[in-house]
Amino acid sequence: ALKDGLCSQVSAALKEGRVTPTELCQRCLALVKSTKFLNAYITVAEETALKQAEESEERYKRGQPLGILDGIPIAVKDNFNTAGIETTCASNMLKGYISPYNATVVQKLLDHGAVLLGKTNLDEFAMGSGSTDGVFGPVRNPWSYSKQYKEKSVPKSHSEEESDWVITGGSSGGSAAAVSSFTCFAALGSDTGGSTRNPAAHCGVVGLKPTYGLISRHGLIPLVNSMDVPGILTRCVDDAAVLLGSLAGHDPKDSTTIQDDFKPFELPNLTDVSKLSIGIPKEYHAPGLSSEILALWSKAADLFKNAGAKVVEVSLPHTRYSIVCYHVLCTAEVASNMARFDGLEYGHRSDMKDSTESMYAATRREGFNDVVRGRILSGNYFLLKQ
């Protein structure tokens, strides 16, 4: 149940005065500082976070907290617009860009009293699955510094040890690392082709990709408009439910959100799984799957089976076409969405002044990394008639 989640426990502690929002915020900020080597954060909004914590404290003193999330420190992936706080998408194109508006999901979190610690690192413009290709450098998986990992690796020289770390996965690697390293209780990521679920798996946290249309994309700088969703990263499933409950619902500013009223829900304590039917797609047993993953997959299936659920093999016959289709659709929309970055209205503008065309070309060459440029070229190729 929701009351078992970490957020609920913290919320209870805040209500009872066992800890204050300001203390909580300060501790998290200190942890952010001491885990700087993870490179999970691009921007730390220390001043505004402390101010938000202060305001939360006032509300708790008056006995009027805004909800479970009031005073809870959270982080937001740096492809969400945050008014007054830099939004870079880990790209030279938007270095220094201060958006004048909040993404709807950011606004909702703030309206619930959450404390925004900062913006997290990602692959440039969310293009990638490692969080290694951003302009601010790669994100390091906190588990790189775990006992298990250290024990596995051969003793090395100090400099080799420094560079011996594993990736977070991506593209929401910064958010996953931030949650995994305890610097915040929840983080927003984005998911188009796995960008929330992938880093969640790598960093050992819960990653939820909500169904398209459930949560507003207004203010999420798009990769693929027809597939993007804001993603939720937490340390337990109940917290993910809390976040989903506070973010879901129709947004008039996003015409692709479902019109129906969102009905808030509570996660039941699932003790009886006998009515549950679990399908295992046979095509997912693909060539190249590591034995470790296969074993874990089987283990999970066995867990459900032994608990009484029905576990059956299913077929998703078009699986082998999915990645190809994804690439075509994704690059086509990327080519389209990136067309607005021309240096005219905002963002980086090249010094090249010979003509509008040359200014555009230089700006885009200077502002985008190879991955972004590669996808734009592919996408335009697919969109061309001839």
Partner: protein
């Protein structure tokens, strides 16, 4: 020499008359300070999304119905990509695959000769009407090697009306556009004032010999008035004929009309043939419209558009208004055209008719010959007329009651134009223009004249 058949089609962009833009809430206003009507979405700030303006859809439906189109109950939005300084997103949102209205027609009339004594009705097919965004404006400052960009107009709603190549000359094109303009103004879906850029016309022109396939067509842009439209089209037809008769070929190109020189010139090459890389607009679901039959029972009336509801509330179109004028007042069809062609003239005419005993058939002469020609001479609109309908009605009443002659009436009218605030009766008294009805008085005056001119009278009698 084998005869040539000119073929003319038109692409017309009409700015939708609405408070806010097609996909954002910023205001629509002519001649506002630069970049003062630009929302985050209009400026293409990353993360912003389009939200469809209901009023713009209604305007397009009204226009489609008035042009006898089928309204597509499901239409789609697409992105049309090209890079230009006045297109912040790098693409325009338009309707390329399935537009909102298709397969309509527009009837318009032409006079056979210049005297407007015989009118003939023609029809042009409307291929489609689509909703799309307008672009911003860019001004090239060559002296300082810079381009100034004003995004006030970026995102304003447009209806693109595509007329099939059913026209054959400048006069037909002009008449068709004039009629469309009147229809749009009557509906209120667009103010359609060409001078303010609310109505823009591009012409597609080609020529061919009878029995042969259509020739290569050129597109003519930069046409700023209906008069120039006729000139541009006729010039281009002539140019093509001359070119072909001299053994040349016609290039499939875009040409601009130069109003000073009265000719078309090739436009600066816009990167040859453009591939617009069309793609569905993923942020907008299909546009669904309903009629009374398909309207779901418990649908919120505010959330949907009912085509039948709009149809029922369409005002009288110009063609209907003209018929009514002819029927009600017994005027000629040509007269009804002139009345509707001039903003406010029909209302003025009806107002005069109400206030005078003179028959409408006689009033119309005064309206069309005297009033209108004076207004034209002084470049005034009906609204700006120094002679109000009341004054004219008073004057016509004096004439009708035979208190003055028609010559005298014309003199009074000339005096009224001065706008000095005198009534017709005052002017008549001032200038002693009263018709003398008394037979004896008349005889006395004539006798006095004859008495005073004895020599001339003798000369006349002698022949």
């Amino acid at each position: 020499l084998a005869p040539w058949i000119p073929v003319v089609g038109l692409e017309i962009h009409a700015q939708i008359s609405s408070n806010s833009k097609l996909f954002s809430g910023s205001q629509v206003q002519f001649a506002a300070p630069p970049n003062s009507l630009v929302s985050f979405f209009d400026a293409s700030l990353p993360g912003t999304l389009p939200v469809l303006n209901r009023r713009c859809v209604e305007a397009a439906v009204m226009t489609g119905l008035a042009l006898n189109c089928s309204i597509n109950k499901k239409s789609l939005f697409d992105r049309k990509h090209y890079f230009y300084a006045d297109l912040p997103a790098g693409y325009q949102i338009t309707q390329q695959r399935v537009p909102i209205a298709v397969n309509g027609s527009l009837s318009y009339s032409l006079c056979i000769d210049n005297k407007m004594s015989q009118m003939v009705t023609k029809t042009v097919r409307i291929k489609q009407i689509q909703l799309e965004q307008d672009s911003g404006k860019s001004l090239h400052d060559d002296t300082r090697c810079q381009t100034l960009v004003d995004l006030n107009r970026a995102g304003v709603g447009l209806m693109e009306v595509v007329m099939e190549p059913d026209m054959c000359c400048g006069e037909e094109a002009a008449a068709a556009v004039r009629e469309l303009q009147l229809i749009l103004q009557t509906l209120g879906s667009s103010q359609a004032v060409m001078a303010e850029g609310q109505l823009r016309v591009d012409a597609n022109v080609s020529v061919h010999h009878p029995g042969e396939p259509y020739g290569v067509r050129t597109e003519v842009k930069n046409i700023n008035s209906i008069r120039f439209l006729a000139k541009a089209v006729d010039y281009e037809i002539q140019r093509q004929i001359e070119e072909l008769e001299n053994g040349g070929t016609i290039l499939n190109e875009t040409r601009a009309f130069d109003s000073k020189l009265g000719c078309t010139v090739p436009m600066r090459d816009k990167e040859g043939k453009q591939d617009y890389r069309f793609m569905p607009e993923p942020n907008l679901p299909p546009l669904i419209l309903y009629d009374t039959k398909s309207l779901p029972a418990n649908m919120n009336h505010q959330q949907v558009i009912n085509i039948d509801w709009i149809q029922e509330r369409l005002p009288d179109l110009p063609s209907v208004k003209r018929e009514k004028l002819v029927e009600q007042y017994g005027i000629l069809p040509e007269h009804s055209f002139t009345l509707l062609n001039e903003d406010g003239l029909a209302e003025f005419f009806e107002s005069v008719v109400k206030q005078t005993q003179m028959k409408p058939k006689k009033v119309i002469g005064w309206i069309l010959n005297d009033l209108l020609s004076y207004l034209k001479q002084h470049s005034l609109t009906v609204k700006e007329s120094p002679v109000s309908s009341i004054l004219l009605a008073d004057l016509l009443n004096l004439l009708e009651k035979k208190e003055i002659s028609s010559t005298a009436a014309k003199r009074v009218l000339a005096e009224l134009w001065k706008g000095e605030g005198k009534t017709p009766l005052e002017i008549v008294k001032e200038q002693k223009l009263e018709l003398l009805q008394d037979q004896k008085e008349l005889e006395q005056i004539c006798q006095a004249v004859i008495d005073g001119q004895e020599n001339e009278v003798i000369m006349m009698v002698l022949g």
